[in-house]
Amino acid sequence: MQLGNPAIVAFILRRIALSLVTLVLLSLMVFFGGQVLPGNVGRAILGPFADEASVQALNQSLGLDRPYIVQYWDWISNFVQGDMGMSYAFRSPVAPFVLDALANSCKLALVAFLIVVPLGILGGIVAALNVNRPIDRIISLGGLSVTVLPEFVTGIVLILIFSIWLDWLPVTATWPEGAGLGTQLYHLILPALPLFLVLFGYIARMARAGMVEALDSDYTRTAVLKGLSWPTVIRRHVLRNALLPTITVIATQTGYLIGGLVVVETLFRYQGIGSLIYTAARGKDFPMLEAGILTIGVVFALATLAADLAYTLLNPRIRLGAET
């Protein structure tokens, strides 16, 4: 009764229901929270020096003279039917913007992940195997410290080194139109590096903690006392147990990687969902803002769900429950 386990199905359904509640709350927060932004939509579009009459004419044509509740209802009922609405600023459907940005964000996140996950885990393992030795201190403390260095600090230093002084990597993350995979990757390395730094310490730390715990466990002792060699013990007995919690952590970071990169995207001029939202918020482009943030909300929800699922599926204790 593995994957079809009704308990797991029920768990997933419940999680999805809860996530939907969260998303509705999120849309409400954003819509009504967004109303405090200064100026009005028409003003944001036409700029400070436009005539007030023009601003009002524009607002009216956008339907913004109606009560907020009506606007919200209108928007959400369309949204539920799959229509993300029209951007106020761009006067065209929001969906392509959001999808493009999402695709871009995913690419960047993927590149960052591809670098950071193996290295982070490896770092954690190496640190755990050398607990309290210098190499461990370096990895743990170094990792933790770079984790907390603001991306703009690391980003600037990296740009200085790799783009300006060494001239190895392009400054901007956006590749020329129609570029191949290689070129895209080439452009994404530099912006992925600050993300690598942000996440490395985090993942390494989790992996280290998991490893230390697993290494310290009775089952590891059992395995060692069987006469297995250390590498075998680690490969077969320690790693899987040690990395379970790390998997959860990694998955929950997807949310940050996809939605939280306003700074990196600004710095590297990258059209991700973070900067999409940021400009939408500044421009009072509500349909865009809502769609963007809800997209992040969905990504968050999916990521945590995936994390929980992965944890469940990899952990027989939860997957199979107790029998007897």
């Binding site: 020096f49 436009a50 004419a57 392009p170 001029r269």
Partner: protein, 491 residues
């Protein structure tokens, strides 16, 4: 053009511009990124060059009636829109009437207010249009020139979908436009004038100036359309980069609420103005790429400016005296609100330090531009309601707008809340004055009055800078931040 064509013909020019903030629509677009897009494929009746003298573009000639309230424009023959249709007076009338109609959410409405009303543009024949103004206006052609970046001539049946095809009459036509990412244009071989030299122009949008600079240095673009001098300081001495610098009337206005303490008393306002060392500002902050202001909108670039009016200089002693006379104690606190835009925050800090010298403690509140402007109407806008503020004003070919909206008693941007009958009369007189001498005379009076009253400090007028990589020639920026590329070429 011949030799240029011979050596540098063809090629692709890559331009960095600020990301347009919204859909590209000549009727509505307000921002630099957007107006550069408009002006690549669209054209105006006349072109305001770097010398602020109008040149014919889609109009071949223009003249006013005696009173100056009806202007007749003769249009160029044989101009074709990119969709193949021929441009006629119908198109011109429709384009400008559209902008003057309050129902259209037009961004040019504030320019035409009190000048040109809806349906006041009339076709005389296929190549002649008449503008019937609300009041005499000697400088009216500037309002339908490239100076009014919304005044693009579009087909009469324009449906608000410019972004789809960018149909205009210009030397380039649209190849591809991707919102928030960039655009490319190719040479229009049906162009009425000299054909463009470049094969293509690629625009890349940037959210910020810093990445543009890095991109220029990294040879990922050839041209930065608009370069704030402070941010671009590094480029000024870069041997691979050439700076194109144009004097302009762009400036930052420091307004002081004439109806609120401590600025009710003109002596206090003058004292603050006297605390500034304008030469140092120009030399240091602007690296010489500016001209000192004399606390009126009459920038040195305007031919009508009365240069005999004495330039205000720093005078701390006098400023302190004035304050004392006005009963302002040392250590008086004044909030100064402003926007985060180019070097405004730096300017604000220098003003703060200068004011400190005469005993006024300025508390800065630098905010996002959106927040600063707010609703941009009195009562709902930090800009218009603050005791003291610094606001960016872009270049205009004639000072008319500067003279009215921020300074006239009924001006809609009168952040200083300056109400002065005498000024209002003088300003109206200036606008109506038909010849340069009369304008100069009116300007002199205004300049003196404003020096006395000083509702607004005009510290300096900064140059418009563009940066190009060495080897790029023929780029023609305007002080409005437009960039004409018809004559551009790249080695």
């Amino acid at each position: 053009p011949g030799p240029a064509r011979a050596q540098g013909a063809g090629g692709v020019l890559r331009v960095a511009v600020d990301t347009p903030t919204g859909a590209i629509d000549p009727v509505k677009t307000p921002d630099v990124g957007g107006l550069v897009m408009l002006q690549q494929s669209g054209e105006f009746l006349c072109m305001d060059g770097q010398d602020l003298v109008l040149r014919p573009m889609l109009a071949e000639s223009w003249k006013p009636n005696d009173k100056g309230d009806v202007w007749t424009f003769k249009l160029r023959k044989g101009v074709k829109f990119h969709n193949g249709k021929e441009m006629t007076a119908d198109d011109v009338a429709a384009s400008l009437n559209r902008l003057a109609d309050p129902a259209n959410g037009s961004n040019a409405l504030s320019v035409f207010k009190g000048v040109l009303s809806k349906d006041a543009v009339r076709k005389v024949d296929d190549l002649t249009v008449e503008f019937h103004l609300d009041a005499p206006n000697a400088n009216f052609p500037y309002l339908v020139s490239s100076d009014n970046y919304n005044a693009i001539i579009l087909p009469a049946d324009y449906a608000g979908d410019f972004e789809k095809n960018f149909v205009g009459t210009g030397p380039f036509k649209l190849e591809k436009y991707t919102p928030k990412v960039g655009a490319s244009f190719v040479r229009n071989d049906d162009y009425w004038g000299d054909k463009a030299l470049l094969d293509r122009v690629e625009f890349t949008f940037f959210a910020d100036i810093q990445p543009q600079i890095l991109a220029l240095q990294g040879n990922q673009v050839d041209l930065i359309n608009q370069l704030p001098v402070l941010a671009g300081a590094g480029l000024l001495n870069d041997p691979n980069v050439e700076i194109i610098s144009i004097h302009s009337a762009s400036h930052y206005q420091i307004h002081m609420r004439t109806d609120m303490d401590p600025f009710k008393d003109p002596r206090v306002r003058r004292a603050v103005a006297l605390s500034l060392d304008r030469d140092k500002l120009v030399k240091g902050l602007l690296r010489g790429r500016a001209q000192p202001g004399n606390d009126s909108p009459f920038a040195p670039v305007y031919p009508s400016t009365d240069t005999s009016v004495e330039q205000r200089k720093q005078n701390i002693a006098e400023a302190k005296q004035l304050l004392e006379a006005a009963g302002i104690k040392s250590g008086t606190k004044v909030p100064l609100a402003t926007q985060r835009f180019q070097e405004v925050p730096q300017y604000a800090q220098l003003v703060q330090n200068a004011a400190k010298e005469i005993g006024i403690e300025i508390e800065l509140n630098v905010m996002d531009s959106g927040a600063y402007y707010g609703d941009a109407v009195f009562g709902k806008s930090t800009w218009l309601d603050s005791v003291m503020g610094i606001t960016d004003y872009g270049h205009r070919g004639v000072p008319n707008v500067y003279l009215s909206a921020p300074l006239r008693s009924d001006g809609s941007w009168n952040a200083a809340h300056f109400k002065n009958k005498e000024y209002d009369t003088l300003a109206a007189g200036y606008v109506a004055a038909l010849d340069l001498e009369a304008q100069k005379a009116a300007a002199g009076k205004i300049q003196k009055l404003l020096l006395e009253e000083t509702p607004i400090i005009f510290g300096y007028f900064y140059d418009h800078l563009s940066a190009v990589r060495k080897g790029v020639a023929g780029v023609e920026p305007t002080a409005m931040s437009q960039t004409f590329l018809a004559r551009a070429s790249k080695k």
